[in-house]
């Protein structure tokens, strides 16, 4: 799909179609530990985008050929539920889903202390339950929490957000309409505590100057998401402690 159109995405007061200011992240709702069978799980809602992630592992996958002698093999699947999109999505993996599974795995890889579990796999399953823009970055955010919930040692949490360009203006955390009718979409994920960008893509056209600004805006968003992640883990930890006490 090509971008750029004449739908009014920012009004005269600088408000976006859902009422946000240009550098405002949508409301975030996170719950950690939502599944019984998975070793770790999390559900992340950002605006109307809703993503469920689960982690199984470290485990023995039964297939010897993919195991590595010095570290865990990370496997990752980004998948959209058939009901998650406007038009029903066929459950068979699309080329887009195959690419995003790779991009998300590579966003998570540098955060995992994989050397701790040689000859095992750590399997990350991401299911998009409702898609309203930013599903890959919400997927990274949820996957990182599911890893933490599974007790996998991490260098840092990975938090993701997308920066967009609409009506020649850079905006934070674009939703689907802004993505579809806007000029650029730049998803980004990072480990804030060590300043490490682990996912960076650009779909659209930016000048060099715009790109530098977009990078800064992205960091702002990443940090907002990161705080929400930590808060959710804190809450979960308290819950677990309470349960233990009882």
């Amino acid at each position: 799909m090509s971008k750029g159109s004449d739908i009014k995405l920012i009004d005269e007061n600088g408000r976006r179609i859902d009422g946000r200011s240009v550098d405002e992240v949508r409301p975030i709702k996170i719950e950690v530990g939502v599944l019984k069978n998975a070793n770790g799980s999390a559900i992340v809602e950002i605006g109307k985008t809703k993503v469920l992630a689960a982690v199984y592992g470290p485990r023995d996958p039964g297939i010897r050929t993919i195991l590595l002698p010095n570290r865990a093999t990370i496997r990752c699947r980004y998948h959209m539920a058939p009901f998650s999109t406007h038009e029903r999505k066929s459950p068979a993996p699309s080329r887009r889903e195959i690419e995003l599974s790779k991009v998300i795995r590579e966003a998570i890889e540098p955060s995992v202390i994989a050397e701790a579990f040689p000859r095992t796999t750590i399997d990350i399953f991401i299911e998009i339950l409702n898609a309203d823009g930013g599903t890959r970055t919400a997927g990274v955010t949820a996957a990182s929490l599911a890893l933490a919930d599974a007790g996998i040692p991490l260098r840092d949490l990975v938090a993701g957000i997308a920066v967009g360009k609409v009506q020649d203006t850079l905006v934070l955390d674009i939703n689907e309409s802004e993505d579809m009718y806007g000029q650029a979409d730049m998803p980004m994920a990072a480990m804030p505590s060590i300043g490490a960008i682990t996912l960076l893509q650009l779909n659209g056209v930016l000048t060099e100057e715009e790109f530098m600004k977009a990078l800064d805006l992205g960091w702002k968003g990443v940090k907002t998401v990161y705080e929400a992640q930590k808060e959710a883990l804190r809450k979960r930890y308290v819950e677990l402690k309470n349960i233990e006490v009882i």
Partner: protein
């Protein structure tokens, strides 16, 4: 090829003895009586992009069902009827035994059991889903998404399917000249449900019948027997599912249990 499943999660001989020991004293691993069902929690309208949706928790089993209606062509042999498609995905985050890929025999069986009960009962008035008879009709996709597996996925899916169908909203379609279809963005219709049918799953473990089995019980069960019953108590489908066998007497007793179970299930619907 259908293949004898390894008993997963492996339930050791000891575990089986424990479960049986309890059942023989009329109690179960989670404290229920033999004919008790687990707690049920149903939330609807949880997927904004779906026309209808439900999140069902049956004990610790979790299923999301999304209903989407799209305009499509009718089947050539039923040109004046809408189309119903029921699909189930056992996504790998639900269980260590689920693999990515096309639906396996378990998911296909589940979808077909639910599909048949709806279809045979004519639960959905498909003729009311024609827009331009012979040409354009509503295709209703019921997508069952199992996200956590603690046994009895069929009943959880059946509850989710009916809950999502009951609460679904489809935009009113107006046919303009030249067979152009205009969808209203303010007026909606429900999916025309003539009747309601729900499944009830009973496990046979040794000589005992237990309602709504958890995963540990399914692992040691001889077989499951699934009845679909409608609100008038008619049988709208049966499926024996599992390696073992049942006597005629088992079948009759299981039907009695199923009648009680579906009454409770019905009461939990939105």
């Amino acid at each position: 090829m259908s293949t004898t499943p390894p008993n997963l999660p492996v339930v050791s001989k000891i575990k089986k003895d424990t479960i049986l020991g309890m059942i023989s004293k009329s109690t179960r691993v989670d404290g229920r009586k033999l004919s008790d069902i687990r707690s049920i929690e149903i939330k609807t309208d949880i997927i904004p992009n779906a026309n209808g949706s439900a999140h069902v928790k049956l004990g610790r089993s979790q299923v999301i069902v999304g209903v989407k209606a799209e305009i499509g062509s009718p089947y050539p042999d039923t040109p004046n009827e809408g189309v119903l498609i029921v699909n189930a995905e056992f996504v790998p985050l639900a269980s260590p035994t689920f693999e990515p890929g096309p639906p396996d025999e378990r998911a296909i069986e589940l979808a077909r059991v639910i599909d048949r009960s709806l279809r045979e009962l004519k639960a959905i008035e498909l003729d009311k889903l024609a827009i331009i008879p012979g040409k354009r009709v509503w295709t209703v996709f019921v997508d069952i998404y199992v996200i956590d597996h603690d046994g009895n996925l069929v009943d959880a899916s059946s509850l989710g399917t009916i809950a999502a169908l009951k609460t679904a909203k489809i935009p009113k379609a107006k046919v303009e000249g030249d067979d152009r279809i205009e969808l209203s963005d303010s007026e909606y219709m429900n999916i025309p449900l003539r009747s309601i049918t729900l499944t009830a799953t009973i496990a046979k473990i040794d000589e005992y019948l237990v309602a709504d089995p958890v995963l540990e019980e399914e692992a040691v069960a001889d077989t499951l027997i699934i009845f679909s019953l409608d609100s008038e108590g008619r049988i709208t489908g049966i499926q024996k599912s599992g390696n073992g066998y049942l006597s005629s007497d088992d079948v009759r007793k299981a039907l009695e249990m199923a009648k009680t179970m579906t009454k409770i299930y019905m009461s939990k619907l939105p």
